[in-house]
Amino acid sequence: MAAPCFFSRLWRAALALLALGSLAASQIEDQAKQFFRSGHTNNWAVLVCTSRFWFNYRHVANTLSVYRSVKRLGIPDSHIVLMLADDMACNARNPKPATVFSHKNMELNVYGDDVEVDYRSYEVTVENFLRVLTGRIPPSTPRSKRLLSDDRSNILIYMTGHGGNGFLKFQDSEEITNIELADAFEQMWQKRRYNELLFIIDTCQGASMYERFYSPNIMALASSQVGEDSLSHQPDPAIGVHLMDRYTFYVLEFLEEINPASQTNMNDLFQVCPKSLCVSTPGHRTDLFQRDPKHVLITDFFGSVRKVEITTETLSLQRDSQITESSYKEDRMDEELMEPLKYAEQLPVAQIIHQKPKLKDWHPPGGFILGLWALIIMVFFKTYGIKHMKFIF
């Protein structure tokens, strides 16, 4: 009789202790999160596609998908340097001009209506890329082609194309080595051109490109290890080429779930595209990064969360008699004074676009297909004669 009572009391006490302990732990964890928040005040993105020619459509689609996600999460065009080595949207072989698709059956057009390409076609060279990173740009360069970051900028660098062990091919004629890239990042660090850097690369043997980094505050992700190839995802029969690479395809799907208020962290990004889906083994490098990846939000790099401060002091100025005093005060000002001063979340976060690729409705085959079949049937009957029809029916 006594034993069950005793046990139930013990059980209840244990539960209570557990609850208290978890509450305390979560409070400490909140404080720790506060402490480990990033010290950045602005975000930049440098997105590079290094391949040209129609059959490298997927590299342009990769870059444009990341561009799209980054813009959707808030980084403005003025803070994005987009380098595309070839123009797929207006390529003569594109059956759907002015579009670049990332999902087959043309479900998602990542080209959009407001893409701004900063370095296009033959301007995408190793030299220009390194100039953008290090800031050693000739004075005549327009502002949109510059990376004007400072020591409080978080920069996302995404590169895609054909690569090998220790190099990345640019435009089929030159290459950038991992040592040059590491030196470029070191020069950026020396001049404090970044607060934290996220480097993502989707090429064959991509992990070799981040092996040589030695500057602090860099986190790197790659789509495949040394000795492995990164594979493409799916071809589209109408367009005739592979549309995306696997790693970036799954990264895009992951990013579509993110909105500017998400608390998803980098550890989730590391899990994107496991070997079963990607065939290659994605890798990452965090030893140079000071914060723990589980405290780093995705929006620290992919989004542009602006910090707003509300001040409470004012100066007192003497009214100038020359300015006509107006007695009509704006209604909004009074409202603001009554509410407590806080920066409410003004983005309707819950309604942020969830652009899952929508399935297209079925349409009957177009005129061309009908005509082709009609021609085939006509030739068949011409060859074999109507009288043979009786063998069919």
């Binding site: 050693r136 080595t177 040592i179 002091e313 007192s316 100025l317 107006s326």
Partner: protein, 468 residues
């Protein structure tokens, strides 16, 4: 016949040997140095030792203070000791590689007649008005007037007063240790008006290994040659609000006086824009209510925020000190001085870091070409840093600030010169791939013939020994 033939071939052989030796000599003595010289990168000499000396630079910030004693402020025998100069130097404890010392050079003197007259007027504002007409004070310098202990110039409970221009008033004391006591009060006042540890720590915030998440340290704008200020009016509902704001008048009357007071710190340009967020719904009917924005209230907030953005902190006044009301421009003259001190130190720290990084970079990556104009910018930057340090030590704030700006500009120009782009990294296997097809076809015959000659010579040395 055979002997002649043999002699002929022997001659040929000798000629051949001489030719091979000649080829080898030309290749090694002429070719190798030529190839070395033509493939080396041009690097103009840089003052590496001076750049590393900059890191150990000792900055001495001198504030010249003139202390004026009126007749009843101190005991008579102390008055007879005037005029003389007292120096108070203190090192600022910051975890920074450059040592910074603050030096207050106090020049004590007796008051002149017109100053006595001014300081015996009814209120401190009248006194200031009378004193200010007479001379314009240099940037960075201060004047402190010492009045009698029982003077009615200040309210009874106040020991000191800090004015909007570079003047302050302190009560004297009739005591044996008058000079020491008054000296300490003056130092407190002078520090509040010029250099405190906080001002310098904020200036060097980026270079100190402190925690970087305090918003006070992150908020101020970095030192720069110029600033562009844009005032934007957002109207999210132009359908129902027809907003008017007299921005031009407000900028003319409130913003430009403030920016003109700050003009020593940089160039400014101001513009404004209006955002109507719902453009397609903008039609003129009677629904838009006319709204006039009260620009004075708006500018009060904006000027306070501009002060925060420029890093002009709330002054830390010593106890029992009366702080004068702010001027109409919103900026006291000695606050500008504080800003210039902070900016000069920040500029020098930035320039030094840039030059040191450049030197490290050029040392590490040996392939970078250093052109002459880059080298001259570096020399100019080093000279400007040294000049700025000298000017700071002698108390000339405005020329020190200008020199520090020049140092930053030159060092940045040198660091970001487009010609410094290093694209000359060749992995070893690529180097072999380039040189082997060029040099091997030429080198192999020469080497083989040299080896053959050497072996033959060796044999011919041996032969006489054998015979003997």
């Amino acid at each position: 016949m055979a002997a002649v033939g043999a002699a002929a071939t022997h001659l040929d052989v000798v000629r051949g040997k001489r030719a091979a030796l000649f080829f080898a000599a030309v290749a090694i003595l002429l070719g190798l140095p030529l190839w070395w010289k033509t493939t080396e990168t041009y690097r103009a000499p840089l003052p590496y030792s001076q750049i590393s000396a900059l890191n150990a630079l000792q900055l001495r910030l001198m504030v010249p203070v003139t202390v004026v004693f009126t007749r009843d402020s101190i005991p008579l025998d102390d008055q007879e000791k005037l005029p003389f100069t007292v120096v108070h130097e203190r090192e600022i404890p910051l975890k920074y590689k450059m040592k910074i010392k603050c030096r207050f050079q106090k020049a004590y003197r007796r008051a002149l007649d017109h100053e006595e007259e001014a300081l015996s007027s009814g209120s401190v504002h009248e006194a200031e008005a009378m004193l200010a007409e007479l001379k314009e004070q240099a940037e960075g310098s201060l004047t402190v007037y010492v009045i009698s202990e029982y003077s009615s110039l200040l309210p009874q409970d106040m020991m000191s007063y800090i004015g909007p221009e570079r003047t302050a008033v302190v009560r004297g004391i009739m005591h044996r240790e008058a000079f020491n006591i008054i000296g300490r009060r003056i130092i407190q006042i002078a520090q509040a008006m010029s250099l405190t540890e906080d001002v310098l720590a904020a200036a060097l915030a980026d270079h100190l290994p402190e925690d970087k998440w305090s918003s006070d340290k992150r908020r101020p704008l970095k030192s720069s040659l110029g600033y562009e200020i844009t005032f934007s009016l957002l109207n999210p509902d132009p359908k129902s609000h027809d907003v008017h704001w007299d921005i031009e008048g407000a900028v003319q009357h409130y913003v430009w006086p403030f920016l003109n007071a700050l003009s020593a710190a940089g160039n400014f340009s101001v513009d404004s824009q209006v955002y109507n967020i719902d453009p397609k719904a903008y039609n003129a009917s009677e629904l838009p209510v006319r709204v006039e924005v009260d620009m004075v209230q708006v500018m009060e907030v904006f000027l306070a925020q501009l002060r925060l953005l420029f890093g002009i902190a709330q002054p830390q006044v010593p106890p029992k000190c009366l702080l004068s009301g702010p001027k109409n421009e919103g900026l006291m003259t000695w606050e500008l001085d504080q800003l210039l001190w902070a900016r000069s130190v920040e500029n020098l720290a930035t320039a030094t870091t840039t030059l040191t990084s450049l030197a490290q970079l050029l040392g590490k990556i040996s392939n970078i070409v250093i052109k002459d104009d880059v080298a001259s910018e570096v020399y100019r930057a080093v000279a400007a840093v040294q000049k700025a340090a000298e000017e700071l030590a002698s108390g000339h704030l405005s020329s020190a600030f200008v020199a520090s700006q020049e140092a930053v500009t030159s060092s940045e120009r040198a660091f970001f010169d487009p010609s410094l782009l290093h694209l000359l990294y060749f992995p070893d296997d690529q180097k072999f791939a380039i040189y082997i097809p060029l040099f091997l076809p030429m080198a192999v015959p020469i080497l083989l013939s040299l080896v053959k000659i050497f072996l033959e010579m060796h044999k011919s040395w041996r032969k006489p020994e054998k015979i003997d």
